[in-house]
């Protein structure tokens, strides 16, 4: 459902009573669902001043191929920052001179995107796009990409990133990938998908639970916890060749992997010496160096992007709270104080914002804290939020929540204004946003 139609429906709805609203929207949403069980995306809220933009369908070498224009329209439309204008059957003209910018100005567009997919030597394809400022009637950028036919979707996400950055002045979040666990009956699948949750690929499947996937900084590996051996063991899997190895299989439980910024170490929670404590695992030598001490429970480590700090959850103060320890001298200090349950720390790529799960009135919400002034803000109104992680651009937080007992993935902007829900048949949990 596009933003514009949501807006119109919203106006009608205000005049109806609540029950009628629920019913009508249920019917509309049902009708809007595709026949296949694809992921669908619902958007709630959005920026107050959305940029009106038209993305013309790209011309294709033959009918039926993936149209980059569709992917770009979906990406920008679900971000909450753009209002997508219907191209009304228009297609990209042969040259940018063929665009009648005054017409688009009359239709309310601030920007227009057009493009072509054309055959290139060696079975490859070339994708060209042009972004125009309709108000000033100027070309903002034009780029050409050469790739294989299978790479068209990936290039379309990159184009959406470029458009986002050119018009909003900050990097777009569209070309990253997400990893998450899909539970289907008694089967657990670790999947990797594009950031729009399309193009999902199962990289590991098990009849026993898998949790806590974590992306290596270069995006070529996933660390995760698998229970296939009747206890939690930490594995690292290479996504290029699909091979994996158990990197932490000590006596007791092994869990909560987090990559160091240089990708050489994993912080993990082990119970081999005492109750759950945090260790640094050298991935080359396999050596585990103990980092936290004391009988309290320490887990969920995460490195600061500069590699100087380790944030983690501990109940050393009587309730689970987030602490950070210096990786230079090991000294730890408490970060969260509000409420009796703050867990699952995640850091923004610039290291300035902490996201975590905060319990309030028995409900679990995603919250953020500005680490400079320690101000906390609760971002969500759902009740069972888990596993927050930042988009590579730092503007969105991906998390899991429960709707009617079923796990779904959702995103919220760091200012809390834009919320999206990605949904799919099956039970989704443990998302992690990667490069």
């Amino acid at each position: 459902m596009g933003d514009s139609s949501v807006g119109k429906i919203g106006n009608v709805l205000r005049k109806m009573n609540m029950f009628a609203r629920l019913l009508l929207i249920a019917v509309l949403a049902l009708a809007a669902l595709p026949a296949r069980a694809l992921m669908t995306i619902e958007i709630v809220g959005g920026a107050s001043n959305k940029i009106p933009i038209a993305v013309l369908p790209f011309t294709l070498p033959q009918e039926g191929g993936l149209n980059p224009g569709d992917v770009i329209t979906n990406d920008l439309g679900r971000s909450g920052y753009f209002r997508m204008l219907d191209p009304k059957g228009g297609v990209s003209p042969a040259t940018p001179q063929g665009l009648t910018l005054p017409d688009w100005k009359n239709r309310g567009a601030d920007a227009v995107v057009m493009g072509h997919v054309i055959p290139a030597p060696g079975g490859r394809v070339e994708i060209r796009f042009w972004l125009h400022d309709v108000v000033r009637q100027t070309q903002i950028i034009a780029l050409s990409y050469t790739t294989t036919p299978a790479g068209v979707r990936s290039v379309a996400h990159k184009i959406a990133d470029v458009i986002h950055e050119k018009l909003l002045g900050e990097p777009g979040p569209y070309s990253g990938r997400i990893a998450y666990i899909l539970k289907q009956g008694k089967r657990y699948e670790l999947q990797v998908a594009d950031a729009d949750s399309q193009n999902a690929i199962t990289v590991a499947a098990s009849p026993e639970p898998i949790i806590s996937p974590a992306w290596s900084p270069d995006g070529t590996k996933l660390a995760y916890v698998s229970f296939e051996d009747k206890k939690p063991v930490v594995y690292v899997q290479n996504l290029v060749d699909g091979k994996r190895r158990a990197v932490a299989k000590f006596r007791g439980s092994n869990s909560a992997p987090a990559w160091s910024p240089d990708g050489r170490q994993l912080a993990v929670t082990l119970s081999k010496d005492e109750t759950s404590q945090i260790y640094l695992l050298d991935l080359e030598t396999g050596e585990a160096k103990r980092l936290t001490r004391g009988g309290a429970l320490d887990t969920e480590p995460v490195f600061s992007p500069d590699g100087r700090w380790l944030y983690f959850t501990s109940d050393r103060g009587g309730s689970p709270q987030i602490y950070r320890a210096s990786l230079e001298n090991g000294e730890a200090s408490r970060i969260t104080f509000e409420g009796g349950y703050n867990v699952s720390p995640a850091l923004s790529p610039d290291g300035k914002t902490l996201a975590f799960v905060h319990r309030r009135d028995g409900r679990f919400h995603v919250a953020v804290m500005d680490l400079a002034n320690r101000q906390m803000q609760v971002l969500t109104d759902t009740a069972f939020d888990e596993s927050p992680s930042f988009a590579p651009n730092g503007r969105l937080i991906l998390y899991a929540t429960l709707v009617n007992g079923r796990g779904v993935l959702a995103t919220v902007s760091v200012d809390g204004r834009v919320k999206q829900r990605l949904s799919q048949s099956g039970d989704l949990r443990e998302p992690s946003w990667g490069p």
Partner: protein, 236 residues
């Protein structure tokens, strides 16, 4: 607007249900049995990751104006083929996976069957394997004293036998934090058995967190059943 959001959620749920003709069965495998080979996960579709090499460059020749495109940029992405990995349950009996890093469980066949018999006797206190815990607690209640004493006696008189103590938590909150809570519950039973004279090498305390609930409900009755430690004998 809030109602609208709720309605959208509702609608999506309705639709989600409609999409799934058969709801999956609840998990009943409590991790006590070693999964039989027939339970092996099915082969996974293998797909290449469509991350082909991409070159990008500004389009030249097109009319340029004041807002000229930046200089040519080269985007290089490596091909990422991602074959799926099949994870199989380890057959504890076959591989003799050591408990606590000790030597493999290769107890004599005769001993094994004798052990299995007394463990399986429903009238024996040894048939009781589950210790429940209060909310946010790993303290063992008095009611479990005789259960633990029975297992301690058995383990002491059968030094070749080994147990895995699996701690569990209810579903509320973080999975990793719950894993640590379950670990503490397993360690609590470990310490209790150790105080009763069981050799530490015969036991391993591990946690399955909130991943293997006994009760599937979302209320205190279900949560109480799920906050537990299970005693699992090797080779059973």
């Amino acid at each position: 607007m809030k109602h609208f959001a709720i309605a959208l959620t509702l609608a999506a749920l309705l639709a989600g249900c409609a999409d799934q003709p058969a709801k999956d069965a609840v998990i009943e495998d409590r991790g006590i049995k070693v999964s039989p080979p027939a339970e092996k996960a099915k082969a996974v579709d293998t797909q290449g990751m469509p991350m082909a090499p991409v070159d990008s460059k500004p389009i030249s020749g097109a009319a340029q104006d004041a807002a000229a495109p930046p200089p040519a940029q080269k985007v290089e992405t490596r091909a990422l083929a991602e074959p799926a990995t099949e994870v199989k349950p380890l057959d504890g009996a076959k591989t003799g996976a050591p408990v606590g890093g000790a030597a493999g469980a290769t107890a004599a066949g005769a001993d094994q069957s004798a052990i299995a018999l007394s463990l399986k006797d429903p009238n024996s206190p040894l048939s009781k394997r589950i210790i429940l815990f209060d909310f946010d607690s790993s303290a063992i209640r008095d009611e479990y004293r005789s259960l633990l004493e029975a297992h301690a006696e058995f383990l002491k008189s059968n030094p070749a036998s080994k147990v895995i103590l699996q701690g569990h938590a209810d579903e509320r909150g973080s999975r990793e934090y719950n894993l640590a809570l379950g670990q503490r519950r397993a360690e609590s039973v470990f310490k209790a058995l150790s105080l009763l004279g069981v050799a530490e090498g015969q036991m391993e305390a591990v946690s399955l967190g909130e991943e293997k609930p006994i009760a599937e409900g979302h209320d205190e009755a279900a949560w109480q059943q799920n906050r537990r430690t299970e005693i699992l004998y090797q080779g059973e």
